[in-house]
Symmetry: C2
Subunit: 146 residues, 2 copies
């Protein structure tokens, strides 16, 4: 079972921005820090911007920052916005099911219930919960010090 890379990168970027409230972060710095694709991270940043989690300050000294307090950014909400779909099995992909059982299959309902339980746990945590009183992580996430 795997989340898509977009959710993974989105959560890392939000943690980074939450730990660097004194400075703006650039896509280039964050991508280099994690050793991940700049293009992919840019796409993730666009999604997070569109959904109101982060904002861009333009110009030479520009960069990214959180658009809301870290304590108001719910992890479940981020994952719901960044997961392309929650089609755990082929038959749940809209318009893509080739499985002959689809019309009568109860597995879909069971998997949907399990997915809701998964997301409900993520709804109990915010980005701030990952950062607050976690000095070791703050040190790791401090791009200026890095």
């Amino acid at each position: 079972m795997r989340l898509n890379l977009q959710s993974d990168y989105a959560l890392r970027l939000l943690m980074q921005l939450a730990a660097n409230t004194n400075a703006l972060c650039t896509i280039a710095d964050v991508a280099a820090y994690y050793g991940i694709s700049r293009t992919h991270l840019m796409k993730v940043a666009n999604t997070l911007g569109r959904e109101g989690f982060i904002e861009t300050v333009r110009g030479r000294a520009g960069g990214l920052r959180l658009a809301r307090k870290a304590s108001s950014i719910i992890i479940g909400e981020v994952v719901r916005k960044t997961e392309v779909d929650f089609a755990l099995v082929e038959c749940l992909q809209e318009g893509k099911s080739n499985c002959l059982l689809t019309p009568a299959c109860r597995l879909k309902g069971v998997l949907a219930e399990a997915t809701q339980a998964f997301i409900a746990v993520l709804d109990n945590y915010t980005i701030a919960d990952l950062i607050t009183n976690n000095d070791a992580l703050r040190d790791l996430l401090n791009l200026e010090a890095a």
Copy 2:
């Protein structure tokens, strides 16, 4: 979020065998019925056999059948045995994490808790729950009639 194909195929095969208690099913029939890879389904059947969910009757009239009552085959148990891993994000893949945050990151714990909630729902259902009093599905799954 996606389960791997092995879990998907395992659940379909178990439903098929549960609905066809009067006859043995062959890999070839089931693969042709779903239009899926015979080789992949064989691998899944081997896993299910090794884990004691199904058994093989050898010989010319041989085939597969459930090794236990459908009501004792818990869906969560099947998924736990057939999912290669529950590494929702890169850092949870054993020995594969390149993320610099790994030593101090709390996200791992949050995702582990969410995964447990997901599996706990699947532990409430058996293969029999998918089949019993579901005549439409039984009709679809009846290979002899198909």
